[in-house]
Amino acid sequence: MNYPTSNALATVILTAGLCILPNVLLAQSDQSSERKEYADKIRETYNFRFGKDKPSAPGNASVEGNDFIQPGAFPKATYCAHCHEQAYSQWRQALHSNSFRTPFYRMSVNILPRTAGIEFTRHCDSCHNPIGVLGGAMTQNSKVNREFDEDGLTCTTCHSIQQVKSTEGNGGFVMGVPAVMVDENGKRIPGEVPYEEILKYPKRHSQAVMKDLYRTPEFCAACHKANLPNQLNDYKFIRAFSAFDEWQNSKFSKRNPLTFYSADFTSCQKCHMMRVPALAPPQEYGAKQGTFASHRWLAGNTAVPFYYGFDEQLQKTVEFLQSGMYLNVDLFAIKKRGTDEMIAPLGSTPFQLAPSDTVQTMVVIQNKNIGHSLIPEVRDLYEAWVEFTVKDGEGTEIYHSGFLKPDGTIDERAHSFTNRPVNVDGDFVDNHKVWTIHSVAYDNTVQAGRSVLVRYEFRIPSNAKGALTITARVNYRHLRQSYLNNVLGEDHPAYPVVPIVSRSRVLKLGNNPASAPDPQDNPDWMRWNNLGIAYLDQLQYSDAIDAFSHVVQLRPDYADGYTNIGLTNISWEKYGSARASLEKALTLSPDNARALYYLALVERREGKCDAEIADLQKVVAQYPQSRDARRELGISYYQQHKPAEAMQQFEALQAIDPDDITAHYNLAILYSRMGLKEKAAEQSALFATKKVDPGAPTYSLDFLRRHPEISTESVPWHLHTDFAADLTAKQKQH
């Protein structure tokens, strides 16, 4: 092969540079004047309802230059498809490309222009249609051609983002003027460039369209975190959802010392943009060593691919949900009525059953490896629920909870992972009219790494023969049936119900000896541990301690088992009892941040302030991004009259979570004492709008009074049974 001489190479570079440079300057200048002309025109009629300096409010989207940008500045996805055909075809079927146009989104967002005004849609469209928002299209009598709607989040929306403002969400990104190349000085060349140029200078292309930021969870936080600001609801700040915060509090972030289990650092992209093989043809220039990051963003949405007929996306979504990696269902124990004995763990413990026995089954559902809650984000629109069946040897159904009714709706007494936001009238906020939410009457989920205990009671028929099969499964439907009915009318086809995970056990009438565990089952110590976590979250402290005690019996080397006993005692306000277990944990695992954190809380109660601060400092040193440790250390310093140190901790906390109430409250006081009046006023105002409205629970109570089925579900400890009379008695007793 002949290589060019250095002189020849220099000539080529110089020639190329001379050719490109004028074009670059021309492109920049053209773009700049075109943008100014466009923005001037938009400004003439734009509704600046939320302030001249906040054209995207109530959303947070912004673009460099702080002015409207013409939609034509965004190269279309078909332009990118020339070299990224596989990524393009994945994107076309993915949620991001359909972020605006789907009926499921339009149904909700269309209500705003029909009622409050189109300008309010900027809150939603900052993420769902950023080209529309930044192009100034979301205004009355818009003069903007909306052809871009069908591409939703196109390639050059995400790949033009230059920074995220904070982790406040609501589209909290700053976009650059879209560019697919930089010049030799690293300056972005706006708009499309000939493909030959990109192929000639692939690094300059990468420099323009790829940033390390894109691989971080903070990047996703720009839109996978949302709040309802008072500009939108004319009420107050309300947290809408935050998959990012949930991830940050999970074991996958490595930022939280308080998780029950640990894991390697795993970003959002690692799960939702798994690398997939690049198939040739077609050519996929984004591939490295034969793979590239999937642009399907597989998650839970089956409705969009079902509606559009994107069969491949639908199939892969179902496979993703059913991969078995994320949830674990454990048919953990039974209790026979009339005895207090818990037969547990099932499989490891022999027991007897007889006809006419009334049996309570305890099902533990563990959010094993989801980096956020089940289901994340808008639980008013999605449906996940537990289906539990008991069948006799002939397959006859003895008990069934969580069934689908003929009209497609779920048994209202099912254990569901949904929520019920309510308005000022205590009515369920249907159609995702989030701007009317004043309270949340019910919100059930399983946070990352945690477990829930679901109890079912049934009676074995007196004439039952053979063995009973009990099955618990977690089903998922995107979207709630009644919402689908609202969107499409009641004559729509049935939308997919995906069983995510399922576990069955056979209960014989007579003797049930211990049996070998199923490969998918957790080891017994972990089964007890998950039960303990579930009890703890259901405020059943005594039972939780009992469960965790089984853990340390089975795993005396497991420091976290002792810490779990300690933290349960703290929750139970038995600080004295907590100390011994925490010290045991620290004996097994010196400097264990989790144990140190809880020990510091005990020390605070004991008045051992120096020890408390020293322990929290150790936690912060190990986990500088721990919200809890920063918060508690800030409080410790504050109580010890160390305002500068306290301020430092609360500011650090605010950098991790800009919405932390404790930080707002304490900083308002601390700044005020330091004479920083403006900053104090700002923090004070933020505290005032973000703190819980003490009147809000009234709206929830109104709803719960009218919905006894949800009222029952909202009690942390509740039983699912067909014995209505018994249930009423138990509720009264409770």
Partner: protein, 192 residues
């Protein structure tokens, strides 16, 4: 003057059920229509709704309707059919002929009423996926030298008809069909 224009004029002047409103088209803005037709357009909106004295009754509390699937429910909102209208976008004089017509009607009994709308495409319609609840496209080509494509579809109890007619040698029949499909998607999106 085209043959249909006197008829439209007569209808506008004499029909009590129709009125001409100086309003924007609710289903598509003129800029988007201009994009479809390839240049600036003149637009006309004919409102045909029942409650014209209160054309945009806000359904602020429920947020639902007037596009309810259930006519009884829609009636409860008191706004059923108020948005029914017909929008006509025509390329401005001096350019090649292009016309985009959008019609939206509320059906009291969608199952019974929609077939009559669907019949506007006859037997040669091709079903379209993911445009409203259901939709089909067909070629009309009723005038020489002109491509004319029509989508007839439904969102719950609202029927919509989108007809695009162009006389532009640079456009093929299939590209006109694609533009019509895209426009129909925009219209259906507004109806949800």
């Amino acid at each position: 003057m085209r043959t249909w224009e006197p008829i439209v004029l007569a209808v506008l002047l004499f029909s009590p059920a129709l009125c001409r409103a100086q309003q924007s088209c609710l289903w598509l803005n003129a800029a988007t229509a201009g994009g479809v037709l390839g240049g600036p357009v003149n637009s006309t909106v004919l409102r045909t709704g029942a409650n014209l004295s209160n054309p945009r009754t806000p359904n602020a509390k429920s947020g639902a309707g007037p596009t309810s699937a259930n006519p009884t429910k829609a009636a409860a909102y008191g706004v059923n059919a108020v948005d029914d209208s017909e929008c006509l976008f025509v390329r401005q004089p001096g350019s090649s002929f292009g016309e985009l017509r959008i019609e939206v009607r509320t059906m009291s009994e969608p199952r019974k009423d929609f077939p009559a709308y669907a019949a506007r495409c006859g037997d040669h319609a091709t079903a379209l996926q993911a445009i409203g609840n259901e939709a089909a496209v067909c070629s009309l080509n009723d005038k020489p030298g002109q491509f004319s494509e029509q989508v007839v579809g439904r969102v719950r109890d609202r029927a919509f008809i989108v007809r695009l007619s162009v006389n532009n040698p640079s456009l093929s029949q299939s590209s006109v069909r694609e533009k019509t499909r895209q426009t129909a998607e925009q219209v259906a999106g507004s109806l949800f």
